[in-house]
Symmetry: D3
């Protein structure tokens, strides 16, 4: 065996892959000294948020009333530091050079957005507490709030969504999407961070759920695995490309239940208290309190 | 840039998050000296079980007939030790202080349950061997038992289920649910550990499958991706909450096939040998041997 | 507590698990000195491919036109070395001892296949560039090519597919399947590496998508979450087992769109430009340009 | 090559090594459920002590006056927890079963000793501050207190000594010796934790320094590399073994300087303010203020 | 056992340790956004230098004439990046705020110094090659240059010295000292980075060697373990502290050999070609070509 | 700041460092497919040996009489596998291409030597047991065999020596030297693996001890820190280089004690039962039973 007989293959492939024409549209022109968005750091950020919001469940520590402020203090400082870098990484990635005149400019903006996020932590805790209660009440198999917090994928996905949504409202690019994709990968639940979701929201099982960017969901809504709140069609611009940013996903009223694998598509409204049966395809408004179901199967 | 101008935000948020009123219902009151449930340790436990059940596929070692008992010996001892701690962690988490008078009490119980689990390993191996055969026979793309064991997500999900089911039968709290959620996250297959499943069980592709806590599945059943064996509705108690523990999921007979994205809901019975077509919604009993399908699509 | 009172349980279980009769069909007879297939190494291989194809997005480095060849050079050499070992591991696992007379034989074959793969990298880059453009154009929520490359699960799944497909065409056993299962686990998208897929392919959201081994997909096709391109039934051989290798999955023409949770089953043809609505079950040919939808739901 | 032809060698060696007669005096009979002494954990303990004593130099954090108590709080709690386990490990290792009737007994004692150590941290900080000043003043090459704290091996060795000495005074077995051996390995400075050392102690360069268990060192003493404060001879007991615990190392007065490679041996006294030249061998008392030197070399 | 009975001890110790008066002189006032000196990063820097200077011995790669520039390219870029940060960390640590008006100022200076270091790599390779030859020629036990490069502690210590010396000449604070202390800890050889050392330098065994900051060593010098090239006394300033920066260590001529444990002290000159015997104490000039030995031992 | 202005420096340095003339004598021409000597793997090998020789002290496991063979079995197999690779790496490094006609040849030889080493483990245990007893008996500060095994640097250094010596007797190149240098770095004790050392050997404190390649040490010898058993001068060959392989280090009789920092040089004999005082320089034979000491110091 001559290990070097493959040198030619390697050398000539290296040359092709290094040609500017070949990689120019696929290459990220990262600037020295700017941080890179990092999935690993975002994982740590999410874990920190979870340990601050649900003390004693995540992280390594025993919590009591005297010492909780030590842990919350260290965790909050670390969160501020890591999040600032990732927000800055997002700003740099988005290359929003019109808005910012310098790296220092962007860094200051990242600091401000990060501090605003820190301020929102108590409200995030309040909201997620309602989701925990909803999951517990809605699932006959749930044995305690603790079990729900500790191992329900819905809580994990909704936590990431609420964190990412807060960041998107602060104008942070890219990072919110990465956070929601992390939950998507772990749970199979794909909630766009720009969606608007009320209190006491719960998802059972969850794999395959899709909630689009312009969806609006009221309070006390429950959905099952495989449910899509999607777009029906996209108006195209003069070049035949979808116009970006148009409201195109459904509005779901308070107290609605949507069963597994239902697809609700387009800017329609599902009225308050409606029940949508499983495996169906809904593209028109549904009255408040209505129950709609699939046609009977053939035998 | 003044890095300390955000100190006030941090300090005041730390104070809010450390207020007892704010975190009391969301906080886990872990006791010093008690082990915590750990997803990382449970991963090691599952890997150990897999290396004991399928020698030579998982773990780092070359196996031959003379040396296999060394590896099985070390693996079994380690499994006993790790599992005992995690069972104890589960007992402590569930805070079942009425049943146990002391930590030593709980530890002794954890030791016993762990030893019972160890005793079940040969039976787990026998059962999983039937599942491997079923997966191989049912999939024209499968090339060998080895490929099925090594990379089929169904085998991973069913392994976790059979391990978790064994633990739930031993009365272990929380840990079985964590084990099944780990498989859920990796494979998109969500099998509640309390479900009852016969031999030669197989799932093709699997993403989106949901099998509820009180489901009963016979021998030689095959299901496809997206199938739900779920509950239809929950009887409520006087407070309007679902009554926990009532049989509410289907009973599936021997030799049934259920195609992709079918939803079978409620305490109904799918008779032996029936075939359920894809994308349909079944809420009533199905006769043995019946074939039911979706209505034709509109063109 | 007497920690040794469980020794008997352990010792007797070890004996049962070490009996040859009990493990012989479930045991991998790995040969000393042969490499083992390793998911961890395959992860590194995929990351290397991604960093070579999309310079600057993955990996740790800042790229500029002068230095890119250093990174591409080191990455390509490392890829060649790691991939050769994993291809060899696949050949050994498949135990194709008829075809190869010795380990050295297999190693030489692994070297050749690995070099062929390296040669394909520029073409893989070209193909994946078309997929990135398709994903960007097809999603009103996408903000830049960069965002699509960096965090869209479809790009991750299609990258793994295109890499695995290249390896399967080179006759590499097992490894392609492992690579596609890795993407399946991360994204919920299950594309068999033997499937044939054209340019400008995109998948929206993706969880639950299944594309079978003999499926053929044209150019410019878009599919949504939960779509199955599956088999309808398997012709059995004289022993009642499915005959392996028969074409049994659909052929999808150019410019087809398939909406969420649709199941398209059997060796049927979906004609060029057709639109398949969501949540439906298609088992017969569809005309070019046709639009087919689910029956209206009952109210 | 037949990889199994070495099986016999392995199997028969395993048998020999597993014979009770062969290993009984060399085997540690560790009891299940008791912690093991761990060099890795002791490293973390030392790092924690250093980060608490010298805030901002070690550990990852930025310190300011408002937030220092968060870090000190978390660090102190973690130190208490880790140290308690290691003290317990030391008590178990020493098998002092006469003194303790149960594991719970030992655990309570470990808790108490650990809390006493925590109480000593401010005094340890005060003492080490004097050592830092002495090192800075005594070395013309030292540029700042910061440089001394951050990279002088003497400070590392004296820190470990002062920590270990505190533990030995609390009656902790084994652990103090492990801590001093860790410094010995890192710096070549071997200070027995039972030695008594005053304030403003410094060691220059340090490699090869040995300070015996019963040595007593005054304030403001400086020693150089290779200096031994050792024993001269050991009175033997009736079995010809050295009698343990007899004072056998020198007493060094205040303000003494001892130059490199000098050996001072036996229970002698070096009077206050004396200077001992390098490379000499001192086995008799030295007057206060005396200067003793090596004989001239031959040319 | 009441785990919280130690809360008071912890809480009150935390308060004491957090008092500004207690830590103010021992605390490093690190500024946010500035890098910290890191022993871990310096280890990576040293390993990178070694892999660039001695290709194929360190690092993971196989080197051949076609591909060496890939590895050298990636290694040099990474070295530049890491070294720049650590140089900046050193500048910040030394707090040389008079010289630099801003962090950007310091960063630019760090970039320049780092680039100067990169330029010196070929000369460092040339020098270290002479040391390798000297070690090989001087040790009858050495079997090849490869063995000397790969495992002689002298080469490790001299490599760190030559790297650190280059940095000290570029005016980098703190970092050179850290690099030499790393070698000191690993090898027991303590060479101050400010010392001046000629070509073909070798140290046999090496433990306990000390070479002071103002020592000057000619070409082709060999020293043995335990040799000190130290200061004899320090002129004091008006406050009784040693005056910093005065030449106080010996000058060693070309072709000198110094045997084990000899101490050579003060600003004396050891003439060209002299031989200094072991275990002696030299404080006066030695003629070129002289041989000096210890007095005979008493019997 | 222009981060690319340093590109020229980097690019031109890379070119210089990649020139064949510059690196040819310093470059290791490693062949593809051959293992590299690895300090990390050697650490694991040493830890495995220690855990097999002293069961229960090292490694993670609880040992009892029933289960010890599981651990010893797994450890011995792993040791065989790792050691074989490292022996092969040593053979390849030494490039002994005259002796071996192919890589397979060398691999077979490595397998044989590794198996021989495994066979020696019981004898290594017996020898090290005598060293443990000697260390315990000779040190009034030693509290138990356990403490000696667990934390005495002498036992660590002598263990590495006895392992390395066994390998050198089997004709393994390079690896023994690496093993002894690892102990040298950790303990400051430098024992050449070719030295011959009897039973009941002990070293107190140990930093700075040097024992040369041709030294011969009898039974029951005790030496202290800083002792050198070295060469006096090297006969030169016609090129002026030291002749390799000549006996040049001392022979130490049974029951000899050598105190700290003594240097014993040349092929002399220290007679049985002699005592050598500290800090002296011995270059002539010493009678059995003699006591020799340093001249008195000057006052």
């Amino acid at each position: 065996m001559n290990p070097h007989k493959y040198s030619d293959v390697i050398t000539s492939t290296v040359e092709q892959l290094s040609e500017y024409e070949s990689f120019k549209t696929l290459c990220h022109q990262h600037h020295d000294g700017e941080p890179m968005p990092s999935e690993k750091v975002l994982h740590e950020i999410i874990e920190l948020c979870r340990s601050l919001i649900f003390p004693g469940y995540f992280g390594h520590s025993t919590i009591n009333r005297r010492t909780i402020s030590y842990y919350v203090g260290v965790g909050t400082e670390r969160l501020f530091e890591l999040l600032t870098e990732q927000i800055l990484a997002g700003l740099c990635f988005a290359c929003d050079r019109k808005k910012y005149t310098s790296l220092e400019n962007m860094r200051e903006s990242a600091n401000e957005k990060s501090a605003e996020f820190i301020k929102s932590l108590p409200e995030l805790r309040r909201l997620l507490a309602t989701d925990v209660i909803a999951a517990y009440n809605g699932d006959p198999a749930a044995e305690s709030y603790g079990e729900v917090i500790f191992c329900y994928p819905a809580i994990r996905a909704i936590s990431n969504y609420r964190i990412a949504h807060c960041l998107i409202q602060l104008g942070v690019p890219l990072i919110p999407r990465m956070i929601s994709e992390m939950a998507h990968s772990e749970t199979g639940i794909d909630i766009h961070p720009a969606a608007t979701i009320g209190e006491y929201f719960t998802i059972d099982h969850g794999t395959g759920v899709v909630i689009g960017a312009t969806a609006i969901i009221g309070n006390n809504v429950k959905i099952y695995q495989g449910v899509t709140l999607g777009a029906k069609s996209f108006p195209l611009d003069e070049n035949g490309n979808p116009i970006k940013g148009i409201p195109r996903h459904p509005i779901i009223g308070n107290n609605v239940i949507i069963y597994s694998n239902a697809s609700i598509l387009g800017r329609i409204t599902i009225g308050e208290g409606a029940t949508i049966g499983g495996n169906i395809w809904v593209t028109e408004n549904v009255e408040p309190g209505a129950r709609i179901l699939q046609q009977k199967a053939e035998k």
